[in-house]
């Protein structure tokens, strides 16, 4: 792939620098979101309430970043009247930062549960499934943000297809948690918390897929038309209650 494949030089250098600034801000917001996820999960794994509190306190920063990017994007559209790939780039940035903000919210939700769970004692084996999910989603998010930065079509498509794995893992973790709850009602509290954490992580994966779609749209100018593989059956209670 040649570098700068989708970057063109405009007569107005200021326009280039506007576009670059928007991309840069989105990437920085992505970086903070990645850190929020890994901190929230770290907090869950190590029962680190302090770390979780920090995640909760950082969430408004992400929200502010989103507002900033949106403002900048609207200003740029108004001032420069961009067309074609430039317009897609700006609209794409707004969509990506919207997904990132949602991901940040999910990270905050997990952190809140860490604080709520801090008094319970739960077995480490249960957390391992959730950790596995989080690692998978973090890898997806990293790849899609790299794809955004490098305008890499193939990487975006890989992320888009990779969501199936996260969904399958989520289903499996749900089953395991159900078993624990049926074994002993005292497990229900923390199992429910973990279940919501798993669902939060699964939703983050969905947002990563959305970003992949946006990156594809920014480069190609049309939406992805393939059928997306789907592995999540957690929405069907019958699938859970079998056996």
């Amino acid at each position: 792939m040649t570098e700068f494949s989708t970057r063109t030089d405009h007569t107005a250098r200021a326009f280039d620098s506007d576009l670059d600034e928007i991309s840069r801000k989105v990437a920085e917001m992505g970086g903070l979101t990645e850190k929020q996820i890994s901190d929230a999960v770290q907090g869950l794994l190590e029962r680190d309430t302090e770390l979780a509190e920090r995640v909760i306190a950082t969430d408004p920063v992400i929200d502010a970043m989103q507002r900033d990017i949106e403002e900048k994007s609207i200003l740029t559209i108004a001032r420069r009247q961009p067309m074609a790939v430039d317009l897609r780039e700006i609209v794409g940035a707004m969509r990506v930062c919207n997904d990132l903000e949602r991901i940040g919210d999910h990270a905050k939700h997990i952190a809140k549960r860490v604080v709520a769970l801090s008094s319970d004692l739960y077995p480490q084996t249960l957390i391992r499934g959730v950790e596995h999910m989080a690692d998978l989603v973090l890898a997806q998010l990293k790849q899609v943000l790299d794809a955004y930065g490098g305008r890499d079509l193939q990487a975006a498509l890989d992320v888009w297809k990779g969501d199936e794995e996260v969904d399958a893992l989520c289903t499996s973790v749900f089953r395991e948690l159900f078993t624990y709850m049926m074994e002993d009602p005292r497990n229900i509290t923390f199992c429910m918390h973990l279940m919501f954490c798993a669902k939060d992580i699964e939703r983050m994966g969905d947002h990563a897929t959305n970003i992949a779609e946006t990156v594809y749209f920014m480069i190609e100018g049309r939406p992805i038309t393939d059928q997306r593989p789907k592995g999540d059956t957690t929405n069907f209670p019958s699938a859970l209650m079998q056996k």
């Binding site: 030089d9 990437a27 903070l32 499934g129 596995h132 890898a139 490098g150 890989d158 499996s172």
Partner: protein, 425 residues
């Protein structure tokens, strides 16, 4: 943009000659100081050399009042030459946080980095971005430690050194970022914690059984020859299980210790797989399983030989133990085309046993995850086999895919990048 700069650079051959001399000097210093160590001395020297050189240039071009932007472009060439000659990851960043220059080591650290684009597109760690900002604002060298969780846990220390590229500049117009890998140090600490956490739980079970039987043998079963015989057999089995568990935990730790270093020696998988199959012939005969190997002539990947042996041992042994009911095992090695069109070395182990239920498939590589605890114990499993496989593949930048239908066996497929001329991204 890149091409423009390259063209500008060609027009300044004279400058380039000077640079080569400077770079040579840096190299000389590097060699001498190599014995004295201190990784920071190297970028330090580079900066000194760079500043001297730029001062010279500024005098030379003094009359041609150049705007700051073109100063940056002029400096680009010598800067690139010096940066590319340094062994540690180095990235030079301008005030707009664009990459002015980077070396191979930095490219390996973040493959998405592009010259002329904002550094944060590829390196998004908030700590790092903040540190660069602070270095520009205060004009002082700033340090920060940060970690990455995916694809493998890594820890780094980054040093941001602000540089004024012309003597009369009021503010630094460039930050030189250097990185030090703290992973080996941190890994040892983590490993110890992990080992204790895993071992304490998993080793306690067989240990409790052992001491229970010893107590019984000392007490009520002291004179019962028949019971003694039976108990000793169980005790031996438990002791073996503990030994296997310790073995697996140790290899897991060893692999994790090197997880951030990708192997670069080419190895041929075909003889490795054949050797593994030969060594497991006895087990296969015991279980009444016929093993078929279908392989291409040569299948070379960059890999650690011992780890590759370990990987296939685990896969084949698992298939023999848990899929023996099918009486048949197919192993296939081939060079295929992956979904992204790149070539891919593929090795699959297919058994015709009872298969694995879909809800277990995504979890199989987690530590101590067992589909059926009793079955696993009966087969002498440690619950670490596939975790080992996954860790080995992570280190080799490969992946494992598992397909299975209940009642129709399971296929474990190893995907690895083939060894060819290594493409630096």
């Amino acid at each position: 943009m890149n091409e423009d700069r390259a063209a500008l650079g060609r027009r300044r051959e004279r400058g380039a000659q000077l640079v080569v001399a400077t770079a040579a000097l840096v190299f000389a210093i590097l060699v001498i100081s190599g014995a004295l160590t201190l990784g920071y001395a190297i970028p330090g020297f580079a900066v000194v050399a760079l500043v001297c050189f730029l001062a010279l240039r500024a005098d030379e071009n003094g009359k041609r009042a150049a705007p700051p932007h073109s100063v940056a472009e002029q400096a680009n060439d010598p800067l690139r030459t010096i940066v590319s000659g340094l062994p540690d990851p180095v990235i030079a960043v301008d005030r707009d946080s664009r990459v002015l220059a980077l070396n191979e080591a930095a490219r390996a650290l973040a493959p998405a980095l592009r010259q002329g684009e904002p550094v944060s597109l590829a390196m998004r760690m908030p700590e790092l971005i903040e540190t660069v900002g602070r270095a520009f604002a205060h004009g002082e060298t700033e340090r920060v430690e940060y970690s990455e969780r995916v694809p493998v846990d890594r820890w780094f220390e980054a040093v941001a050194m602000p540089v004024k590229r012309s003597v009369d500049a009021a503010m630094p117009d460039m930050v030189l970022l250097t990185f030090r890998d703290l992973t080996p140090l941190r890994r040892v600490e983590e490993m110890r914690a992990d080992f204790v956490a895993n071992a304490s739980h998993e080793l306690r079970t067989p240990l409790a059984a052992l001491s229970g039987f010893i107590e019984t043998l000392q007490g009520s079963a002291r004179d019962d020859a028949k019971a003694r015989e039976r108990f000793l057999a169980i005790m031996q089995e438990q002791a073996r299980r503990m030994a296997r568990l310790i073995d697996d935990l140790l290899s897991l730790s060893r692999i994790e210790l090197n997880a951030h270093r990708r192997p670069d020696v080419p190895v041929d998988l075909v003889p490795i797989v054949r050797q593994v199959v030969d060594s497991l012939q006895t087990l296969a005969r015991d279980r009444g399983v016929t093993v078929n190997v279908e392989a291409v002539g040569v299948l070379t990947v960059f890999g650690d030989r011992d780890e590759m042996v370990r990987l296939f041992e685990n896969l084949v042994e698992n298939a023999l133990k848990y899929g023996a009911a099918g009486k048949r095992l197919d192993i296939k090695l081939a060079l295929e085309t992956a979904s992204d069109g790149e070539p891919e070395a593929m090795a699959s182990v297919r058994d015709y046993g009872p298969g694995i239920a879909p809800e277990h498939l995504p979890r199989l590589t987690e530590r101590f995850y067992r589909v059926d605890v009793r079955e696993s114990r009966a087969q002498g499993g440690t619950g670490l086999g596939l975790a080992l496989v996954k860790h080995i593949l992570n280190r080799h930048r490969g992946r494992l895919s598992i397909e299975s239908t209940l009642g129709a066996g399971a296929t474990f497929t190893v995907h690895l990048p083939p060894a060819g001329p290594r493409v630096s991204q």
